[in-house]
């Protein structure tokens, strides 16, 4: 019997757990370690952030689901990985520290035969002084509690505008190397929608502030779609929506610090600027959660297992190369770590080989370029591929049997631009592949038959449907495995 330990119970980690439980739980043990008691459908946090959904709408209790299906759930955070065991024995293990209130702070060794690191991102608010809701001056929609607070502050600003006072709202990214522009994009349009519904939109100046070279980059170098008899870059559509909704935009920006009511930022031309605000939601940059690695002698091997940003190395090609020498083949396929055949990393936790967008730097040496996105669909796809590989490896395969390269898969994103069953809209976007492959698609890097985008009420219905579908699936209700990931 093997023990499979999965660290993280987000979209990726929980997907691995669901499938492995279905396939191998009768013969093998599955342990899930997560510091959070609840699963969160993160894409709907933007609706919590504007008061259109509640915490209960976007979360459910993990222990209930795992107890029902016989998965050993430990509410704890991962601290270190010991892939060679230690002086006491060769069996690999992880150390965890409980966040469960009854055992908070207690540490424990958990041995494993297979390990999946699906720990997701550390929200690195500390990278920008003054950023973030806890000790800073901006709000966030990255977690449910952050989104609840964002809505509270937004409602206060709306009340102020109802009294006739104008306000400035700034939404975007809070550092030159952020990813997740899509979440900020959704939030800015939902804020615009909510202000219009509240009858106060004319009192608001709304500004988009991001590290993209051009609007529509989204960390994947932008995209092209066929529309209206032309092949057009997404920049045109992204700018169009900004103009339509009376939103100003500032791109090529690295936020250097945030003070109460003032954002300081540097732009790619090396100049420095200030922007006053009354309400601001800025996405933080991501880093790894801070796992350490130790070999059997106790020597620190963190730098071998993890990239400098704390994300775990996998079967990608990390050789430093200039941008024009990057290839789709640099991207990982099986998500297995080099050196340890029984360790995998999926979702945001794996280290990409490099950016997707072109690297850019100001004359002051400041990198101002989006990091690559790892959205829900690719995260679930790689999680399922790893689950299939582990299933086959516990049954005798000597290496991973399934792959899910971001350069060979597509992604569908539905970005809400306002929630209402009859008046809502969303941008539905697909790209294939996620990482452009200029060898296969020389002109645009992507298959234009599978890369498209449109705005409409149908997109909002789609986003709502996905919300209920994926929560149903994550709760492992009857028939869940028939639903697509």
């Amino acid at each position: 019997m093997s023990r499979i330990v999965i660290m993280g119970a987000g979209i990726s980690g929980h997907t691995v757990a669901r499938y492995l439980n279905t396939w191998v739980a009768k013969e093998h043990e599955i342990v899930v370690v997560s510091p959070n008691a609840k699963w969160n459908w993160i894409p709907s946090n933007i609706w919590v952030g504007v008061g259109q959904m509640t915490e209960e709408d976007v979360t459910f209790d993990l222990a209930q689901v795992y107890n029902r299906i016989g998965v050993d759930f430990r509410q704890a955070k991962g601290v270190s990985i010991h892939p060679e065991g230690d002086a006491d024995g060769a069996a690999p293990y992880v150390t965890i520290e409980y966040t469960l209130p009854a055992k908070v702070g207690q540490q424990e060794k958990v041995a494993y035969d297979y390990l999946v690191n699906a720990t997701g991102p550390k929200l690195n608010f500390g990278a920008t002084p003054g950023l973030g809701p806890e000790v800073g001056h901006t709000v966030s929609v990255c977690t449910v509690s952050h989104a609840l607070e964002a809505n509270r502050k937004l409602q206060t600003v709306i009340e102020t505008m109802r009294r006739g006072e104008p306000r400035t709202l700034v939404i975007g990214t809070g550092h030159g190397m952020c990813t997740c522009q899509g979440a900020a994009f959704e939030y800015i349009y939902n804020v615009d929608h909510v202000l219009r519904e509240a009858g106060v939109r004319d009192k608001a100046r709304i500004v988009w502030l991001s590290n993209e070279y051009e609007l529509g980059d989204f960390g994947m170098g932008g995209f092209h779609i066929k529309r209206g008899g032309y092949i057009t870059n997404g920049k045109t559509f992204a700018e169009s929506l900004m103009v339509e909704r009376d939103i100003e935009w500032i791109t090529r920006a690295h936020v250097t610090k945030v003070e109460a009511g003032k954002i300081h930022y540097e732009t790619l031309d090396g100049t420095f600027h200030e922007l006053e605000f009354d309400f601001s939601m800025l996405i933080p940059p991501f880093a790894g959660v801070g796992l350490k690695g130790y070999d059997k002698t106790g020597a620190d091997i963190t730098s071998q297992m993890f990239a400098p940003n704390g994300l775990m190395r996998v079967d990608a090609d990390y050789t430093p190369r200039p941008y024009l020498e990057w290839s789709a083949n640099d991207w990982p396929n099986t998500y297995q770590t080099p050196g340890y055949r029984n360790i995998f990393s999926v979702g945001i936790a794996f280290a990409p080989p490099h950016l997707i967008s072109r690297p850019m730097q100001s004359p002051n040496g400041t990198p101002i370029n989006p990091a690559p996105p790892r959205t829900g669909m690719p995260s679930a796809a790689m999680a399922k591929a790893v689950a299939m590989s582990i299933r086959d490896m516990v049954n005798g395969a000597d290496k991973p049997t399934h792959s899910a390269s971001m350069a060979k898969m597509g992604a569908a994103c539905v970005a809400s631009t306002g929630s209402h069953i009859f008046r809502g809209t969303a941008v539905t976007m697909t790209v294939f592949p996620v990482v452009p492959d200029y060898e296969k698609y020389p002109e645009y890097g992507r298959d234009l038959e599978l890369t498209f985008g449109e705005i409409g009420l149908a997109g909002h219905w789609m986003k709502s449907l996905l919300h209920y579908t994926f929560i149903y699936q994550a709760k492992m209700r009857p028939g869940w495995s028939l639903l697509p990931d």
Binding site: P166, S240, V243, H402, S403, G410, A412, L450
Partner: protein, 54 residues
């Protein structure tokens, strides 16, 4: 006092990008048309997922 772009001045940011016409905006929330688009979007997504499996 916040500055709002109230007219599209030449060479200003908002002057260049396309803006949808009234018909385009209407079609985005036209219930009947969007029902067709909902089916079309689902077909496109199914094609995408089919190409993505390995």
């Amino acid at each position: 006092m916040p500055v709002r772009v109230t007219n599209k001045e030449p060479y200003q940011q908002a002057y260049y990008p396309p803006k949808p016409t009234g018909l385009t905006c209407y079609m985005r929330t036209s219930f009947i048309w969007q029902c067709f688009r909902f089916v079309a979007i689902n077909v496109k997504m199914i094609k995408l997922m089919a190409r993505s499996h390995h």
